[in-house]
Amino acid sequence: MSTETLMRVSNLKKYFPIRKGVLRRVAGHVKAVDDVSFQIRQGETLGMVGESGCGKSTTGRSIIRLIEPTAGSVKYRTAGQEEEITHFNKTQMKAFRQRVQMVFQDPFSSLDPRMSVRDTVSEPLFVHRMGSQKERTEQVKELLQTVGLSVTHLNRFPHQFSGGQRQRIGIARALALRPELIICDEAVSALDVSVQAQILNLLQDLQSEFGLTYMFIAHDLSVIDYISDRIVVMYLGKIVEVATKQQLYDNPSHPYTEALLGAIPIGEKRVGEGKRLLLGGTVPSPANPPPGCTFHTRCPYAADICRQKEPVLESVANSGDHQAACHFTTELELKSFYDFSQVDRSGA
């Protein structure tokens, strides 16, 4: 994995208008993504975690302009040059779409039920006018083999497949244009563990075979740990921590990350210091986020300054790789995942 930046996201915002009344006047905004900046490096898997509604999917969609960002810059490196994709015209966008693909959560609704596997997987090839029909069918067969499906399934329809197989079809379709970057939005969240393991292994194999870069969105911290090199933690439309996998689980630097680590089920009875950390309350509405640090309503360490001043995302202990947005990052001694997973093996 290189440290070269493939995508550079700066000050990205996506606000959804809230409309009220018969005139549908804009009464406010849902700040789904509120000023986030991060980079995706060539060849890495960047994990993104956070509770539902914190803006993960909106971030994923905005950076490839499946939805238009409200503000901010997204630069993508092509042939050594960084290009601003938010300024791309139609033709440029079409070329960009060949390089970046998305795989979605729900293998049931993300595929068109009336399209056969052949049509589903070859559609992107058709849209980008790649090859003759015969060549396209050959490519589809190859893609199906790559993702572990049988070519005899070519003329079947989505309802004839299991959840895991449908997810493979979605991945085959995403691979059709030989992309560089794939954004996986909860791609394994709806699957049983056994099938989830198949898809995670497949994604890793494809990465080493084709040198792919992934942005992997998930809410399951065990899955994120397994697949990611670096991890971005989001809370209420903002990034609260960015770290390598090792740093995040061994040395979390934001109280929200600590709370997430403390809530992971570990499958064993905990003892003493290993007790689960319980966070009170729920995520506030992104239409009306709390002032100051948006986490202060649930943070066990909140002080006066937290209610007034918004913390900025800054490097932790002079490490450019590890950033957190908390006024007390240097003072707090947060627990690691290993502190939380001390278990009782005595059999009692």
Partner: protein
């Protein structure tokens, strides 16, 4: 001879659905028991019969297609055995049991909350019906219950409708409703699957706490072994309508014997571990077209000809630990005999 502490016994239970595609064997000869105050976890992949099993516990198998075809469920009501599989599912006796002795919570709270009544009205309804409380008492108790499950401003929120509650809050409201009659048995079908980890942790803690308070037994269904491991005393692993392994929690995690249990454990990503995940090839068979012999044989790395021919017997590993697998017999039992 029954144990003095025994609360429920399920004996050789079979639940089937008759549809146009033929007969689905959702639960296929399941036996297990539960003691008062105990938490038993049921784990297995999607479509293994977990939800149907939990519905059967309260005689809630959807009719007319579904029915209990064989076997029995015995519930010990203050020591007296009641064969609930003999009761009319919609009759008075069964309804009384459901209100006073057993309760159920579902994965999707909206299936048991009615959108047109306030949360308070719905809890009060249960209390009026089963505990014969008057309105004032019932309302007071409803507020108490909501407070107990951690709904903030309960006195106000008791007047709100389900859609005004967040997912986690609805789950709490449903738990409050289910527990308002202090049941002896709670059947919880994936109660946290739809929730975020921080909320899941809150709900698991809440269940454990309430359970200590009222000495309630919980049958906790989940597809997530790690969640089961947080809460269960004993674990039942289901595959294609069978119980394939049953053991105390520690034994399931430290000493699993069934190839399916082992595969499930190896498929879970665990923090800090880097080895490649082990995936189980194929998928759960259609419960209307079950293979002969062992239902797991088409996916099992240890399958032999015998497995493909004969249904495996249940073998005892040690006290309280059983496994339905020929391989265990080959390895352990045959060796010593």
């Amino acid at each position: 001879m029954t144990e003095p502490n025994r609360l429920v016994e399920v004996n050789d239970l079979e639940v089937v659905f008759d549809t146009v595609e033929g007969r689905t064997h959702a639960v296929n000869g399941v036996s297990f028991s539960m003691d008062a105050g105990e938490t038993v976890g049921i784990v297995g992949e999607s479509g293994c019969g977990k939800s149907v099993m939990s519905l059967a516990m309260l005689q809630l198998v959807p009719r007319p297609h579904g029915k209990i075809a064989r076997g029995s469920i015995i519930y010990y009501q203050r020591g007296k055995a009641v064969e609930i599989t003999k009761l009319n599912p919609t009759g008075k006796a069964m309804r009384a049991l459901r209100g006073n002795e057993m309760a159920m919570i579902f994965q999707e709270p909206m299936t048991s909350l009615n959108p047109v009544y306030t949360i308070g009205e719905q809890i009060m309804e249960v209390l009026r019906l089963h505990q014969k409380m008057d309105n004032t008492r019932a309302k007071q108790r409803a507020i108490e219950m909501l407070e107990k499950v951690g709904v903030p401003d309960a006195a106000q929120r008791v007047e709100e409708y389900p859609h005004q509650f967040s997912g986690g809050m609805r789950q709490r409201a449903m738990i409050a409703m289910a527990l308002s009659c202090t049941p002896n048995l709670l059947v919880a079908d994936e109660p946290t699957t739809a929730l975020d980890v921080t909320i899941e942790a809150q709900i698991l803690e809440l269940l454990a706490e309430l359970q200590r308070d009222i000495n309630m037994a919980v049958l906790f269904i989940s597809h997530d072994l790690k969640v089961i491991g947080e809460i269960a005393d004993r674990v039942i692993v289901m595959y294609a309508g069978w119980v394939v392994e049953e053991a105390m929690r520690e034994d399931i995690f430290q000493n699993p014997q069934h190839p399916y249990t082992r595969s499930l454990l190896a498929a879970i990503p665990r923090i800090g571990r880097r080895e490649r995940l082990v995936s189980i090839p194929g998928r759960v068979p259609s419960l209307s077209q079950l293979p002969p012999g062992c239902f797991f044989a088409p996916r099992c790395p240890a399958a032999t000809d015998q497995c493909r021919r004969e249904e495996p017997q249940v073998f005892t590993v040690n006290q309280g630990h059983t496994v339905k697998c020929w391989n265990y017999w080959d390895k352990e039992v045959q060796k010593t005999s």
